[in-house]
């Protein structure tokens, strides 16, 4: 049984203009649309495509978060995941604790492949994938823009600063997704109905034996310094003159 495990994080929707709470304790989340982290959606889509090509039998979606995270897992099931597990946890769990929890589930489920987003668009940490690979002592292929499974190996093209790099990893391995890996499918209504019948198990960090005491404390959140709006110019000549005056060209 070839199983692919996909990590799903519930985050403030990509399109929401995030604002810091006046008291600096966080960002405004009341009444704000929550969604699957876009990179995780890409991870799920990739897993589904591998399964559809015959490269896997089952796609398992796993998330850590509060009870409401079941909504995002139901969406994952509607997209095509076969089964989901919610590890009930506080709103914010540090990447290392997330990696430890995922490792516990991996030990139980023995996936041939784990696909995670390269970063979550809320904390922008970009840590969980490599941390999990380290704890699991397995290969990692981060920032994937192309994944080819070939028997017990994966050939992964990675988006790196210098361009594209291709590596080969033995499975099982951890892959993290970049933006251009695929375009996730839209969920169809009948699939939403079907997803309600798919298994969604709920456990928690304590049951997994994972200590989630934070090692980093967020003291405060602040809005970023705003840039001043500059001047609007009328012609290209004005622009070139202005830049010359500042010695920029």
């Amino acid at each position: 049984m070839q199983r692919i495990l996909v990590g799903i994080k519930r985050v403030v929707d990509y399109n929401v203009r995030v604002r810091v709470r006046p008291d600096g304790t966080g960002v405004v989340t009341d009444g704000v649309k929550m969604s699957i982290n876009p990179f995780d959606e890409i991870a799920l889509e990739e897993a589904l495509r591998i399964k559809e090509r015959g490269g896997a039998d089952e796609v398992l979606a796993v998330s850590l978060g509060p009870d409401d995270t079941q909504q995002q897992l139901r969406t994952a099931l509607a997209m095509g995941a076969d089964r989901a597990i919610l590890v009930r946890a506080a709103e914010s769990v540090e990447p290392l604790a997330v990696a430890r929890a995922l490792l516990r589930i991996i030990e139980r489920e023995a996936p041939a492949l784990v696909i995670l987003g390269k970063q979550a668009i809320d904390d922008d940490c970009s840590q969980t994938g490599p941390m999990l690979a380290a704890l699991w002592d397995r290969p990692q292929a981060t920032f994937a823009s192309k994944v080819e499974i070939d028997g017990g190996r994966a050939r992964v093209t990675r988006e790196v600063d210098a361009g594209l790099e291709t590596i080969e990893v033995d499975l099982p391995a951890v892959i993290t997704t970049d933006l251009r890996l695929n375009e996730p499918r839209y969920v169809k209504l009948p699939d939403i109905m079907k997803a309600k019948k798919k298994p969604l198990d709920v456990t928690d960090l304590a049951a997994l034996g994972v200590e989630a005491a934070p090692m980093l404390k967020v003291l405060r959140f602040e809005p970023p310094p705003q840039r001043q709006k500059g001047v609007m110019l009328k012609t290209a000549a004005e622009l070139v003159a202005a830049l010359r005056q500042k010695g920029l060209v």
Partner: protein, 323 residues
């Protein structure tokens, strides 16, 4: 004394510019003793370059054929071993550092502070979250190693200094064989490097084709600038991925940033907010890019780019500036 280990990024025998930024961050921690670790196949030149950065006390050169090209699975155990006795282990927020450092943190069981933009104390740092829509101040528990990635655009590069002593060690034979490097695109360009360039010209969706994107390249060459692109332009195939500027691409801080045909999604703006001067050219006067631009010009980029080019080369344009 804060003993800090900086992991050096390098390629093809050259020290990456991010190292001087990481050293600057390490120095900002205060009362610092900075060691730079160079893991390489043949890293003599790279180590010498690292040793001549101000603030570096020592360079550890760990040489072994498996260390190049860099693979996180091969390097991380070596870095974790070197990290013994260090309070901080820093790397850059580049794809090299984002790949390697969390693997090191995982091995050390240490917390990681990603994208450090400011140092408040040895345990307290500021970092952007939510695509830069909020700045978080985080504090790590004292007395435990901290792994960090440094947002290079936030720090002035460490200047010349030293030379610091270089200590050369032979790498242990790699125990990792499950990860193999196959190939890399040789994106060779005579243009300045996007991440360190003083001037950057970026194009967006409005360029409408890969052929038209050559207009951006021509203007960049005219200005001696690096070329950048918005996510939309990269997704559409007008520009390669390594040119993407923004939350999930490169975070840059040039003296001059020229955004052409880029509307200015928040994810893009987060990549350029440290630019000294931002110029925006867009046909939509309501585009959000104008909210952050120092100079805005509304109009058709296909008419304006050639006009700007000819003005840049014209003598009259040059005279006009003097007034």
């Amino acid at each position: 004394m804060n003993r800090i280990l900086v992991v050096a990024e390098h390629a093809h025998g050259a020290l990456n510019a991010s190292v001087a930024k990481c050293v600057a961050c390490a120095t900002a921690i205060g009362n610092s003793e900075v060691t730079v670790a160079v893991l390489a196949a043949d890293g003599t030149g790279v180590a010498a370059a690292a040793a001549s950065l101000a603030g570096v006390a020592r360079v550890l050169l760990v040489q072994g054929p498996a260390n190049e090209p860099a693979l996180a699975a091969v390097l991380a155990p070596q870095v974790a071993k070197l990290a013994d006795g260090f309070g901080h282990v820093l790397g850059p927020s580049t794809t090299f550092g984002k790949d390697l450092m969390p693997r090191v943190a995982g091995l050390l069981g240490a917390p990681q502070v990603s994208d450090i933009m400011a140092v408040e104390s040895a345990t307290r740092f500021r970092r952007p979250v939510y695509a830069g829509n909020a700045i978080a101040t985080v504090e790590a528990t004292a007395g435990r190693a901290i792994v960090g990635t440094v947002r290079t655009a936030s720090f002035q590069a460490a200047g010349p200094g030293g030379p610091a002593p270089v200590e050369t060690l032979a790498a242990d034979p790699p125990t990792t064989t499950h990860t193999r490097f196959l190939s890399a695109t040789a994106a060779k360009s005579d243009r300045p490097d996007l991440q360190t360039a003083a001037r950057v010209v970026s194009g967006g969706r409005a360029l409408a084709s890969q052929e038209n994107f050559a207009l951006i390249q021509r203007l960049a060459d005219r200005l001696g600038a690096a070329v950048g692109a918005s996510r939309a332009a990269v997704d559409a195939g007008y520009a390669p991925n390594e040119l993407q500027v923004g939350q999930t691409g490169k975070i840059i801080a040039p003296e001059l940033y020229v955004a052409i045909g880029i509307s200015g999604a928040i994810q893009h703006l987060t990549g350029i907010k440290d630019a000294r001067t931002i110029v925006a050219i867009n046909k939509d006067a309501e585009a959000p890019i104008f909210e952050v631009a120092d100079y805005g010009l509304v109009g058709d980029l296909f008419a304006l780019i050639p006009e700007i080019e000819s003005l840049l080369s014209s003598r009259t344009g040059a005279t006009a500036t003097v007034r």
